[in-house]
Symmetry: C2
Subunit: 373 residues, 2 copies
């Protein structure tokens, strides 16, 4: 019995020892390699290794090559945190958007990405999912190490810019785009919503429409307010009278359009065109129009806003205002980078306004062969 125990004990110890040795080896193999490891292995110091890897001229070519070779063979990558902590810059720009699956934002991100890559910046994408509290938390956690600057489009819930104030005070470069806030004094990139709406309505007028209605968005958001104003001004300038009963706010989704189209059809004097501040309401309205036997664009023409991809997929295809989001992204990134690299000197916030353009499709083509843009 005793002997058995001894053997078993001995075996156990041996096994444990062997396993431990194996485990340790595995761990060492799996451990991330640092410049210290390289220095130790090559009998030199970390400063030499660091300099060699960054092609410092004071390190001889042979030492450089030797170190680089070792680093390559062992898949060395510098630790981002350590480097950026020391250097004081992470070469990263953060982008905060409500949601990435909205086509507009995805394209803005493309623009940002392009300019950032050109300038050797990384892009960190964050979505607020249109929740203010999430936005606040993200803004807080993003800065202080993660990014050197922020490009943001505020969520639909956001009414003031209090949570941006600390950034501004701390001198973190900030650029707002699309939905912006009046009360934060930073660089902004916006599109001329008024102009976009104006040309869209002008186009409808040119197509011969006389009673033009409007699907608007929440009026506390500037973009929708401005679009509505553009609509009103276009009517006024054309000498058309404004009929309040043809104006509907908060028409953000398909269902709204579907429902209101029913109401319009029931009117004794229905509109012959609708300018909508977004494309989804148009889709719903057209759907209902088809059901009711109302012809688009013959009986009622539509022009939307945003130029969503579906606009050329649905039947009839939908005319819409193109916002040039890629350009917007590029512009925002360019301004942010300019601001980041100019940090020491005084920086004056500016506002860039981009002109949208009109894409004419079937939903508004009453007169064929007449193209307005």
């Amino acid at each position: 019995m005793n002997i058995y125990l001894c053997i078993s004990d001995y075996l156990r110890k041996t096994i444990v020892k062997a396993w431990w040795r194996y485990f340790k080896q595995e761990m060492i193999k799996k451990k991330k390699i640092t410049i210290q490891d390289i220095a130790r292995e090559l009998n030199t110091t970390i400063s030499t290794v660091s300099r060699a890897l960054r092609d410092h001229p004071r390190i001889s070519v042979e030492t450089r090559e030797k170190i680089k070779k070792y680093a390559l063979e062992h898949d060395y990558q510098p630790d981002f945190r350590a480097a950026s902590l020391r250097q004081g810059s992470a070469r990263t720009i953060g982008v905060l958007v409500p949601r990435i699956d909205i086509h507009f934002f995805a394209r803005v991100l493309r623009g940002i990405d392009e300019v950032a890559s050109e300038n050797n910046y990384n892009v960190l994408i964050i979505q607020s999912l249109d929740s203010l509290s999430k936005e606040i938390n993200l803004v807080k956690s993003l800065v202080y190490g993660k990014v050197d600057g922020l490009i943001a489009s505020i969520s639909i819930e956001t009414l003031d810019g209090e949570h941006f104030k600390p950034l501004i005070n701390k001198g973190v470069p900030l650029v707002l785009f699309d939905k912006v806030l009046e009360d934060v004094d930073v660089t902004k990139v916006i599109i001329d919503d008024h102009y976009g709406a104006y040309i869209a309505v002008q186009h409808l007028i040119n197509q011969g429409c006389k009673r033009i209605g409007h699907f608007g968005g929440p009026q506390y958001l500037n973009i929708y307010k401005n679009r509505k104003q553009g609509y009103l001004d276009a009517l006024k300038d054309a000498g058309l009278k404004i009929d309040e009963s043809l104006i509907f706010d908060d028409m953000l989704v398909k269902e709204n359009g579907y429902e209101v189209m029913g109401k319009l059809h029931a009117m004794k004097n229905p509109p012959d065109a609708i300018f909508s501040s977004n494309d989804f309401a148009v889709v719903g309205a057209i759907m209902r129009a088809k059901e009711l036997g109302v012809k688009v664009p013959q009986d009622i023409a539509f022009t939307g806003f945003a130029n969503e991809p579906m606009d050329e997929i649905v039947d009839p295809t939908i005319s819409s205002v193109e916002q040039n989001p890629v350009k917007m992204g590029k512009e925002a990134a360019r301004l942010l980078i300019e601001q980041m690299e100019d940090k020491k000197s005084a920086f004056y916030p500016k506002t860039i306004t981009l002109k949208p353009s009109l894409v004419v499709r079937q939903s508004s083509m009453k007169k064929s062969f007449v193209i307005v843009s």
Copy 2:
């Protein structure tokens, strides 16, 4: 003249001095505040401050409160890099996707985001834009400091997983989803494409279709190969014979569907249904069908794959296979987190397969009131 100069010189100096003082103050105000600043200001040490902010029990409540109050008032936020460098973990999971504006990926990201938030992880989103070289660079730069683990769907250009090998060797947790690689031995989350195709085709058969064609994708990608196989097996199991002339590969965009629909219509024995591996080709085909006076679904029924948002916007609405991307994201995040927190123990890669489901809409509803799912 001399006097003038003197005065001007004096003035200049005074102004410069005042400006400099102001500038310095501004800079100090704008400087990011650190734990050391707090310690100095409150006559204590950084360790106490650090502990107080993290609610360490060994710090008295009053000290804690005092420090927290000061921190709050001065918008203190810990430097992410320093903290994570010291702690060895960034509590961040990286997500690499081909493109974020593809609805499927956007929804996967939603799932990931949700699980990550629940577990106090940040999410870092990166898109490869379907470029292999960009993917390789991103993978390299992401790891080593920025993220503790990676969830990735490879780009369409990616044929092997060489660039993932270093991560695996270094013990970085990795989960692949959607498009995966056979040659990398890691945890994977995929959907059962074969099953999805099978039930889609089965549904068409139940609707009374006898000659069912197929729009496929590039056959070197597993997802498309498997979908095609599911189609073939469903036909075989139903005793229907396979007609190679009804099978088209590389049908990824609208235009492909538009063109092929023309060919189909010109056949003397055209198909009465199409199972497509994606929804865009269906949209194009339906467009052409309308032009040719072919009725959908009466003359030809369609079932797509991916359940794109446009499926319920177009007319007729399109039946499609739903891949449950949100669930996929959640699963992937869950597995990754499990792997990250279990790092010390041995971890065995596993593959999770999710079952897709069929969403039946107008494009395949030959018999009304018969619902198959």
